[in-house]
Every structure is written in C-alpha cells, then in structure tokens.
Symmetry: C2
Amino acid sequence: MSLTKKIPDSTVRRLSHYLRSLEGFEEAGGTVSSEELAARGQTTAAQVRKDLSHFGSFGKRGLGYRVDELRARLRGILGVDRTWRVALVGAGRIGLALFEYPAFRARGYECVAIFDADPNKIGQDRGGLIVRDPSEFEVAVEELGIELIILAVPATAAQEMAGRAVEAGVRGILNFAPIRLNVPPRVPVEDVNLVMELEALSFALSQNERDA
Amino acid sequence: MSLTKKIPDSTVRRLSHYLRSLEGFEEAGGTVSSEELAARGQTTAAQVRKDLSHFGSFGKRGLGYRVDELRARLRGILGVDRTWRVALVGAGRIGLALFEYPAFRARGYECVAIFDADPNKIGQDRGGLIVRDPSEFEVAVEELGIELIILAVPATAAQEMAGRAVEAGVRGILNFAPIRLNVPPRVPVEDVNLVMELEALSFALSQNERDA
C-alpha cells in the first residue's frame, strides 16, 4: 500500500494512545468498541474510526474490533513490530534517562552505542555500553547497523552531528537539541524541546490571564 | 486584548523558535527582516508575518523588526517575561534533568520544591532542594506559591496527582506520564511522551519503506 497522502501528526499520536490502551486490556481475545477506545484516548468514536480508516478496514460494524488483531495492526503501522537499532549521541541526563526507560526497550528500540565528546566520559560504562569517541561514529554506524540516533548534544554541535549521521546512512533522528535540523526530507526528525513545551504552557497561562 | 480565537500550537512553537533566533543576535539595537527570521526557523517570510499578526502590528514595512523590541514582545506573548514557580513531582532522571537544564532557569522557571513517594529519596538533597513527601504537597503549593508542576511520576499515579494539583490551585501541568490527564479546561497540560516521539519516528520510517 503506497501512502502518498500524508498522515497528520495528530493522527499518529492518537494511534500511539490507542495502542497503549489496547495493551492495557487483559483478555486479548476480546473485542473493543470505538466508543471504548475513544473514552480512553479522550477523543470521539467518530475520530477513532476516521483515524483507523487511513489504514484500511478494521473491525466489523456493530461488533467492534478484536483486541489482539487491532493491537497487531497498530504495532505494524507504528513500526514497533520490529527492532530498531539506536545510538545515543550525547551522554547527558536526558538521553540516558530515555535509554533506561523500560518502555524504550519494550517497544523494540535497542540501544547499541553511546557517543560523547567529553574525554571524561569516553571509555566509561553507561548501562552496559562503553561511551565512545564521536570520531568512531561513522565506523560504528556501519558495523553496528545503527538506524536511528537520539541526538542530545548542545545546539552548537547538533547540525554537524546530524549531517554526519545522514551521510553515514542513519535513517531517522530524535532531536533534543534546541535547533531545527537541516536534513534531507527522506530522513524524518522528531524534535523534543523541553523548553518549548514549557513556553507553550506559559503561553497558554498568559492567554488565560489576558482573557480573564 | 482578549484572544477568544485559539492560536494553533504550531504557531506557538514557531514563536519559540523566533525568540530563540532573536536571542542569538549580538546587536540588540539592530533590525531583522521576516526573511531572516524565516531562514533561521526553516519557514517562509509570509508565515513569520502571519504568525506575528495574531498579536497586533510589529515592525515597519520595508524596514523589518527592531530586534530588542520584537524580543521583548515575544517574551511577553510567551509568558517568559516573568518568573513561574514550579514544583517537580517525581524525582526521576527526566524531571531532574529538566531542572538542571540551564535554559530552564534562564527562561524564568524557578524550581521551588521536589516531591517523591520513594522513602529512600525523601529527605535527600537534589540540586539544593530537599525531596519532600507527597503528603506535604497541598501545604507546599499554598506556602510556596507553586503555579506549575512537572509531573514525572508513573502512569498509575499521574491522574491522582494531577487531580490533587488542580484542587490545590496549580495552574498548569507539564506531563511526562504516558497517559492523557483528565483536568478542567482552564488548566493547560503539555504532554511530553518520549515513547510517542519514537513511535512517530518509526511510523515515518515504516511509511517510507512502504512507499519505496
């Protein structure tokens, strides 16, 4: 199936929520209605049906969806029915926190290497992996089959490392650096900018005050 | 100015990017064109002008924006021209990483308390603050004037803590727990779900494969 139509980010996020809900069901053999999924994802049943309709037909009218079937389909759609080989670039607190997060491994993201430019960190053990010198990056991508990187370096170093990753054949980037990376469109980038999240929050609060 | 019209999240995120760009300018007395701001934010000049037009008139046609003026206006719009008193609920790696992030303090988010239910953590020093028992939460919100919380507790505890925070008068929540919080609409919630970000990435990569 070729999806030339772009699926909105908000849909993808709801699919993640649906999957999380389905994983909470005890009896995998049972069924679930779009109303039940909607209630858990704080959306509407119509939205659930519309979101799933992007990916073909699911469930039977009036009977709902089979939990195990929908779960497997969603895992396939979200690309978490396989293992992704991930490297952490920048061994700061946030990147390491993600690596130790149980759901990270449970969802098939396998950490295979850690890089940091700090000479005090190079050679140290972090969760069973030895921190490597960034000069080894290209060789490691090739040898370890690294597909994704978590980019958690300072803003000043981020674009250079992103460029090197793309050159080396890395296919996607989870970016914690507070800049917009310039990479070819074939390489998806997800930005996680915690200060921006806080600014969105203080923006909303300031608007509330102004409207009050 | 009453803004009954909802500003899209994507606009707010671009405003954060523009502010970040403006803070990079050395000469505060100079001017900047919408083209320059667009280039740094990887958007278009028309988009910059449209984003800013939500908030009144800025700049002079053909002359661009004064850097210091626009910076001050954006800081006001984003609510970062004042101090927000923030508590961390859940003293795990991610929450602590955020607290130690230089930009956190630089943007006016002041950490005034840390709570954790783990008896081994209660009473310990974390970056100059003593970790408190969550039973003290309501009293601390009142005494310390806590306005925002960073909710970084396990999913099973998140809704209860969010409810208590709203009851206690907390005005906004940055939520790291992987659930949708059920709070009144007057209390804005920003969700940061790192696994969901990774799923968005593997989704995009899986789509690429399918289209190839």
